[in-house]
C-alpha cells in the first residue's frame, strides 16, 4: 500500500475565510438568541411546564449522538483493522470532537441558569444519568483528543491501538448514557423502554457516518483534492447498513410498545393520530430519512454518483432530526396516564390533553449556532492539523 501523506486543509483564501466568516456569523446569531432567551427567561420560547425540553434539546441530542457515531470510521480503521478506513481516522476523530462541542454548547446555553455551569461541574449526584454524562462527555474529549494525538504523532503511535480501543468503548458508553436519559424515565409511557439505549447507539452510527461523509466530501471539494470512488462506495454501503438498522430498531421499539396494552394510547398517538408527530414519523423519519436514502445508496443507477451519496447523507440527517423530534417532543406531548381507567374531564393544568408546542425562532437559531460551532471547529482543526490525506485516490494494489 502506498504511503499516505497528510496535509492541512489549504484552499484559496476567499473560499476558506469566506466559509469561516459565514459560520462565525451563524454562531454570533446563535449566541445572540441564547442571550435573548437567558435574559428574558424561557417564556419567549415555545417551551412550557408541559413541554419542558424543546427544540434546543433535539439539536443538542442530535449533535451529541452524531459525535459518537462520527468516531466510528476511526474505530473501524484502528480497532477492527480496516485498511480502507485507516487514512480517514484523524478526520473522523476531529469531527467527533467538533460535533460534541457544538451539541454541548446548545445543551448548556439552554439551561435555566447557564451561569451556574460551575455548579454542575462541582456538585454531583451520582445517581443521575446527567451526572454520568458530564463525565462521559468530558472524558470523550480527553480520550478522543489523545486518540487523535496517537494518530498524528509518530512518537506516540504505539499507543494507538489501546487508546483506540478505549475511545471505542467510551463512545459506546456515551451513547448508552444519552439513550438512557430517556430510557430510564419511568414516568412517561413513550420513554420507559431499555431498547432506547441500544437504539441510540445505532442511530449514532447512522447520523455520525452521514455527517462524516458530508464533511469529507465538502472538505475535499473545498481543497480540490481527489476522493476515490471505491473508498466512497465503502462508506456509502456502510451507511446503507446503518440506515436499515435504525429502521429495524424503530420497528422493534414500536412493536414492543404495541404489545403492551398500557402503551396502546401513546402508540396510537405517535403512529396514527398525533398530527405533526405522526407526519414527522412517517414522512420525515421513515420516508425521507430511511426509504429514499436506502434507494439512493443501493440503486445501481446511482452507483458512482457523488450527488446521490451527498443527498442520501443529508436526508439521513434530516430524517434523524425528525426521529429525535418525535422521541423528545412527541413523547412529552402525549399526556401522562395518572389515573388508569378514568378520564380527566377538567384540569387546571392540562392533565389528560395533548400538550402543544410551537418552537420559537431563537430556539432554532441556537440550534443552528451549535451546528456552526461544530463545523467551525472542524474547519479550523483541519486547517491546523494534519488530519486530511493529500489524496484519497483508490489504491491500485488493493482489492476493493
Amino acid at each position: 500500500m502506498k504511503k499516505m501523506h497528510y496535509r492541512e486543509l489549504w484552499c484559496s483564501s476567499p473560499r476558506y475565510w469566506g466559509g469561516l466568516s459565514l459560520l462565525g456569523f451563524i454562531i454570533l446569531i446563535g449566541l445572540g438568541a441564547a442571550f435573548y432567551m437567558e435574559h428574558s427567561g424561557h417564556y419567549v420560547t415555545g417551551m412550557s411546564n408541559q413541554i419542558v425540553w424543546g427544540l434546543p434539546h433535539v439539536f443538542a441530542i442530535f449533535l451529541i449522538v452524531a459525535a459518537s457515531g462520527a468516531l466510528n470510521v476511526a474505530s473501524i480503521g484502528s480497532v477492527f483493522g480496516g485498511p480502507m478506513y485507516k487514512p480517514l481516522g484523524p478526520f473522523s476523530s476531529l469531527l467527533a470532537i467538533g460535533l460534541l462541542a457544538g451539541g454541548l454548547m446548545v445543551l448548556v446555553l439552554d439551561l435555566g441558569r447557564a451561569d451556574r455551569l460551575i455548579v454542575a461541574m462541582t456538585s454531583y449526584n451520582f445517581k443521575s444519568i446527567f451526572t454520568w454524562n458530564i463525565f462521559l462527555y468530558s472524558g470523550f474529549f480527553v480520550i478522543v483528543g489523545a486518540y487523535l494525538w496517537t494518530m498524528l504523532d509518530r512518537k506516540v503511535e504505539r499507543f494507538k491501538r489501546p487508546v483506540g480501543f478505549a475511545a471505542f468503548f467510551w463512545r459506546l458508553a456515551l451513547t448508552t448514557g444519552t439513550g438512557s436519559i430517556f430510557g430510564f424515565l419511568v414516568a412517561r409511557e413513550a420513554y420507559d423502554a431499555a431498547v432506547l439505549a441500544p437504539m441510540f447507539i445505532i442511530m449514532s452510527f447512522s447520523y455520525g457516518l452521514a455527517f462524516f461523509i458530508l464533511t469529507l466530501i465538502s472538505a475535499f471539494w473545498w481543497s480540490g483534492r481527489t476522493l476515490g470512488d471505491v473508498r466512497l462506495a465503502k462508506l456509502k454501503n456502510l451507511l446503507g447498513v446503518f440506515v436499515g438498522s435504525v429502521m429495524y430498531f424503530a420497528l422493534v421499539y414500536y412493536l414492543t410498545n404495541l404489545y403492551i396494552t398500557q402503551h396502546h394510547g401513546v402508540e396510537r398517538f405517535i403512529l396514527l393520530e398525533g398530527g405533526i408527530y405522526t407526519i414527522m414519523l412517517w414522512v420525515g423519519q421513515i420516508l425521507v430519512g430511511g426509504v429514499i436514502p436506502l434507494f439512493l445508496l443501493y440503486s445501481p443507477a446511482f452507483a458512482t454518483s457523488r450527488t446521490a451519496v451527498s443527498t442520501a447523507s443529508l436526508l439521513v440527517l434530516i430524517g434523524g432530526f425528525f426521529q429525535l423530534y418525535v422521541i423528545v417532543i412527541g413523547g412529552q406531548a402525549y399526556p401522562m396516564s395518572l389515573f388508569p381507567g378514568k378520564e380527566v374531564i377538567q384540569s387546571a393544568f392540562f392533565d389528560g390533553v395533548v400538550a402543544s408546542y410551537v418552537p420559537s425562532l431563537p430556539e432554532a437559531l441556537l440550534g443552528f449556532g451549535g451546528i456552526a460551532v461544530s463545523m467551525t471547529l472542524v474547519a479550523v482543526g483541519a486547517r491546523m492539523l494534519l488530519v486530511l490525506p493529500e489524496t484519497l485516490e483508490d489504491p491500485t494494489d488493493e482489492c476493493p
Partner: protein, 258 residues
C-alpha cells in the same frame, strides 16, 4: 554574614507557613461559620422521626371549589407572578407556576365523577431526586421533597422524571416574591408542604386550612410516623391509595375514594 543570609531563609519559611495557615483558615472558616449559623435556635433540626404527609378524601372534595389552590397561591407568593407584557394568555397558562391543581375525573365504565387536588406527592423514592445532576432536588429527613434554588441549574430533568407533573419552571423575571417562598428565574420549584410553617412549629398547611375553613375537611396534614396523629388514624380506618402505586414510590400524599 552567614547568619544574615540565613535570616531571610527563615523568614520566608515562616512566611510560607503563615500563609498556608491563613489560607486554610480562610477556606474553612466560612464553612464553620455557615454551619454555626444554620444551627439557629428556631431550627431544632429536621429528623427522620417524623414523615410529613397528606391524606385527601376525594368524597369531601367539592366540585368547583378551588380554595386550596387559592390559599396555596397566596401562601407561597404564586399570585404575585406576573404575565410578561404582551405575552399570549394561552402560552402563559402553560408556563406559569402551579404547585397544586384541581382535577376532575370520570370513570370510563361507570361514569362516576371524582374531584381531587394534585400536588407534589413527596415520594419516599422521588424520581426527581434520582435524576437531578447537582443534587438540587433533594428529600429532607422528614420526607419533604424540595429544590435547593442555590444549586438548581434549570435543566428540567426533574420535570421530565416526575410522574405527577408536579413541578414548575420559572419562565420569566421575578419582580415580587415572599421571603418564605423564594423564587428565581430559570429554576424549578414545587409544593414544599408549607415547609416554612413546619419549621416554625406549625402543624397545618395552607391548603388544609383553606379546605377546613370552607367546611369540607378533605385535606388532612400530619406525621405519618406518629400512630396518634389524625392522618395516621384516618389512614388506618379507611382504605387509601397512592397515585401511580405501580411505580412503588411510596408517596407521602394518599387519596381515599379514588
Amino acid at each position: 554574614m552567614s547568619k544574615s543570609t540565613d535570616q531571610p531563609e527563615m523568614n520566608r519559611r515562616e512566611f510560607l507557613g503563615k500563609t498556608i495557615v491563613a489560607a486554610t483558615a480562610a477556606t474553612v472558616a466560612p464553612g464553620v461559620l455557615l454551619s454555626v449559623a444554620k444551627a439557629g435556635p428556631e431550627q431544632k433540626g429536621v429528623t427522620s422521626d417524623v414523615r410529613w404527609g397528606l391524606l385527601i378524601d376525594t368524597n369531601k372534595c367539592a366540585d368547583g371549589c378551588t380554595s386550596c389552590v387559592d390559599a396555596c397561591h397566596t401562601e407561597n407568593g404564586i399570585d404575585l407572578q406576573e404575565k410578561p407584557e404582551g405575552h399570549s394568555d394561552a402560552m402563559w397558562e402553560q408556563q406559569r407556576v402551579q404547585w397544586i391543581r384541581k382535577v376532575k375525573l370520570q370513570d370510563k365504565l361507570t361514569g362516576e365523577q371524582t374531584n381531587l387536588p394534585l400536588m407534589c406527592q413527596h415520594c419516599e423514592h422521588p424520581p426527581c431526586v434520582d435524576v437531578c445532576p447537582t443534587g438540587a432536588s433533594f428529600k429532607r429527613a422528614d420526607g419533604i421533597v424540595m429544590v435547593d434554588r442555590h444549586i438548581c441549574i434549570g435543566c428540567r430533568y426533574c420535570m421530565m422524571a416526575c410522574p405527577y407533573k408536579a413541578r414548575s419552571f420559572i419562565h420569566e423575571e421575578v419582580a415580587n416574591q415572599l421571603v418564605r417562598a423564594p423564587r428565581g428565574k430559570g429554576c424549578v420549584e414545587s409544593c414544599t408542604l408549607c415547609v416554612h410553617r413546619i419549621d416554625d412549629g406549625g402543624t397545618t398547611t395552607a391548603c388544609q386550612d383553606a379546605c377546613s375553613s370552607e367546611g369540607h375537611n378533605a385535606i388532612v396534614f400530619g406525621d405519618l410516623k406518629d400512630p396518634n396523629s389524625d392522618i395516621s388514624k384516618a389512614l388506618k380506618e379507611q382504605s387509601s391509595r397512592q397515585i401511580r402505586a405501580d411505580l412503588e414510590l411510596n408517596t407521602g400524599v394518599r387519596y381515599t375514594n379514588v
